[in-house]
């Protein structure tokens, strides 16, 4: 032993790999790496072996074969003669739709609940506690099933609307119908003007900020913005003779026709995902606000800022650096949880590619790999965007 640790020992002996501190760490890492690679190689080899035993090849050719099944919610043209790849794309778009809608609603709900939970109003604070704890502590699948059951069982079926005058919005147990805009001649001009107005609003805001930085004078940005948003597009709308009209849903045959149809499955999934994730976001927001020391508020008041400005200019910028990183995880969770869609018959990527296509073609390995790849890419994309935002709101330390 004394020889091994002796600095004079010039010769390397094999036992020094685990007795000598200089080599030990590298040696253990090398062993772990070799074991890991052996394990991976065994899994891959085993898969190939099992697939060939079953007489199955590994081939993505099925993607270009006709899918032969119909999908209810289609954001792009699709019929049963289109390929499995297109069916997968329809599913992917449905996943992205519900994820986007869910992330937006969850954020709004979460911020409101998080702030209100800190309210001095006892009733509101307690109600928000009940909401947060109720949703956070029950599995999301239960909430999804419960929501769809409530929609299916409590709302009237289209049959019950027979002979009843329906308005612009119809809530049936098969989903909610809202009026759809019909784009007439010149409608796109109105849309273009609206887009330009929005761009102008951003320019005005940045001009106002620069002016305030330079001169200290504040401009009434809100009024400028509202005016820019409403006046030009409204004027264009009437000048072009009301090119955008609304199409109302109408009961024809078995179902309502016309309007935009938000299926019961979409509503259930969207609501359940939003409320569930919203509960987590509420806690994140609350933690973020509490992380800013009360001294900051007092200091802001001392220099004469009103409570509103204190929140926007002092508390929130500091709270955001605590809020944003865990918020990314919640967006990722929501997107991945949307794969529970099949429980309510919402045809997302898991329902089409990982469901019917997998089942009808028997390509388990290929479909699951593609599906994992899809969720991985979406998650990484969300992370990238949110990390970029996080760098922007991060406190710049001096």
């Amino acid at each position: 032993m004394s020889v091994a640790t002796s600095p004079e020992g010039p010769s390397f002996r094999i036992s020094m790999l685990w007795t000598d501190e200089r080599f030990r760490s590298g040696f253990i890492q090398a062993i772990a790496m070799i074991l890991l690679m052996l394990g991976a190689a065994w899994l891959v080899n085993n898969t190939i072996q099992n697939l060939s035993d079953l007489g199955k090849d590994f081939d993505f050719g099925f993607l270009w074969q006709p899918a032969n099944y119909d999908i209810n919610q289609r954001l792009i043209e699709y019929n049963s003669q289109d390929s499995n790849a297109r069916a997968a794309l329809v599913g992917i778009l449905n996943t992205l739709l519900v994820a986007l809608m869910g992330c937006i609603t969850a954020t709004v709900v979460g911020i409101a609940a998080g702030v209100l939970r800190l309210s001095k109003n006892w009733l509101i604070a307690k109600l928000m506690t009940v909401y947060v704890e109720g949703f956070r502590n029950v599995p999301i699948l239960i909430w999804i099933l419960l929501t769809v059951a409530v929609v299916n069982e409590s709302l009237p079926s289209p049959r019950d609307f027979r002979g009843v005058e329906t308005g612009a919005i119809v809530a049936s147990n098969r989903g909610i119908y809202i009026p759809a805009p019909i784009m007439g001649d010149g409608a796109w001009i109105v849309v273009a003007i609206l887009a330009l107005s929005i761009a102008a609003i951003f320019m005005v805001r940045s001009w106002a900020r620069r002016r305030q930085d330079a001169t200290g004078e504040q401009a009434p940005v809100l009024w400028y913005s509202l005016g820019l948003l409403i006046v030009p597009s409204t004027a264009a709308y009437f000048a072009l003779g009301s090119p955008i009209t609304l199409e109302y849903p109408e009961l024809r045959g078995f179902n309502f026709q016309g309007g935009i149809y938000m299926r019961d499955s979409l509503i259930a999934l969207w609501l359940a995902l939003s409320l569930y994730t919203g509960a987590f976001i509420a806690e994140i927001v609350r933690a973020g606000i509490l992380s800013v020391s009360h001294g900051q508020t007092e200091a802001a008041y001392a220099v004469g800022l009103r409570p509103n400005k204190t929140m926007n200019l002092v508390i929130l910028p500091q709270a955001l650096r605590v809020i944003v990183p865990p918020l990314i995880s919640q967006y990722l969770n929501l997107t991945k949880n949307s794969s529970l869609a099949i429980a309510v018959g919402y045809m997302d990527a898991t329902g089409t590619l990982g469901g019917i296509t997998l089942n009808q073609t028997g390509r388990e390995m290929e479909c699951i790999i593609l599906l994992m790849g899809f969720y991985l890419i979406v998650s990484l994309a969300i992370s990238t965007v949110m990390n970029w935002y996080n760098t922007r709101v991060k406190l710049v330390e001096r």
Binding site: N50, K56, S80, S157, F254, L340, G345, N359
Partner: protein, 338 residues
């Protein structure tokens, strides 16, 4: 259920050897048959008041277990949805799938399964509330249709509506129970599946007479048990257990008289061969001489099983129709036992 698919896919990775060895040896070594069944369909696969699995499809599992292991109760049932069933069979999670599964070309060839026969000749139908006043499937344009996902009915439906230039709104559902709940809540206008399944579902309604099954049968649905490709000995066993039940009906061998008839050779040579009192037929498929007698003793012959679970005297009330023996104007016909 989704996770079951993924688990089964992962099973493809991890289940080394499970699908290599002979299934017969595996079953004997395990002392239990792993049988994939429906998650619940009245008459075909359901649990009785004691929690035991019963039904038309379950009887196949029991007959196979009786023939191979001598005990009709030596079965572990794995309830599977339309979506999970094939992965479960392919990955070796079950030995045989008896879950009203339609025999089709691509399932036989591309999915690498072996259908051993047909235990129920069926066709796809539509059920709709009487109150809607629909009398033909051709009046279903624009209807919302509940459908079990991962089935042939899903594909037939797409074909049928396309061929007739009609539109519809598919509502994909995982299990029969969920479909029933959606249909009764009027979240869909129509429920479509195999006609036998519709009759079975309707029988469990509070007011079955409020619902009609439309006259159109839009497809051929030969339902039968299936096994994995590649183990022909095991396929032969399941195939001939099914055939034995059909032959037993032709020969008048019943649950009550089978043991008596198997005790000593009778006058009919084919009956003697089937029941093992003549020749060495059991050893040809690696089973005891009285394997068929045990299989028949488990639930009776084909006709008895049909009458017990889904026949005219049950709540489901299906007629034999195509499923009568060829001697009674049906198409049930087992190859000769020799």
């Amino acid at each position: 259920m989704r996770s079951a698919t993924i688990l089964a896919a992962a099973g493809l990775i991890a289940a080394a050897g499970a699908v290599n060895a002979s299934t017969l040896e595996d079953v004997k070594a395990r002392g239990q048959l792993l049988c994939g069944t429906n998650t619940g369909l009245v008459g075909f696969a359901f649990t009785d008041e004691n929690g035991n699995w019963q039904g038309f499809d379950i009887s196949i599992c029991k007959a196979v277990a009786a023939a191979v292991l001598g005990d009709p109760e030596a079965v572990e049932y794995k309830p599977l949805t339309g979506k999970t069933r094939f992965t479960a069979l392919a990955s070796g999670e079950i030995d045989v799938l008896a879950r009203n599964t339609t025999w089709t070309f691509s399932r036989d060839s591309d999915l690498k399964f072996e259908f051993v026969g047909v235990n129920y000749y069926d066709g796809q139908g539509f059920m709709i509330p009487k109150a809607l006043g629909v009398s033909s499937a051709l009046e279903l344009d624009g209807a919302t249709v509940c459908i079990q996902t991962g089935t042939t009915t899903e594909l037939n439906l797409a074909d049928y509506f396309r061929a007739n230039n009609m539109t519809y709104e598919p509502v994909p559902i995982e299990t029969n129970a969920e479909a029933q709940q959606k249909y009764l809540a009027e979240a869909c206008d129509v429920y479509t599946t195999d006609a036998s399944g519709l009759a079975a579902t309707r029988a469990s309604f509070k007011n079955p007479s409020d619902h009609i099954i439309l006259p159109e049968v839009i497809s051929k649905e030969p339902l039968g048990p299936l096994v994995r490709h590649g183990d022909n000995e095991w396929g032969d066993i399941v195939r001939w257990v099914l055939n034995a039940l059909i032959i037993a009906e032709e020969k008048g061998i019943t649950k009550d008289n089978v043991m008596e008839m198997a005790a000593s050779p009778g006058d009919d040579p084919e009956t003697n061969r089937l029941l093992g009192t003549e020749g060495e037929y059991g050893s040809m498929i690696g089973l005891d001489a009285d394997w068929a007698a045990k299989a028949i003793a488990a639930n009776g012959n084909y006709g008895e099983i049909f009458d017990t679970y889904i026949g005219p005297d049950t709540a489901i009330g299906l007629e034999r129709g195509l499923n009568a023996s060829y001697t009674d104007n049906g198409i049930l016909y087992a190859p000769p036992f020799r």
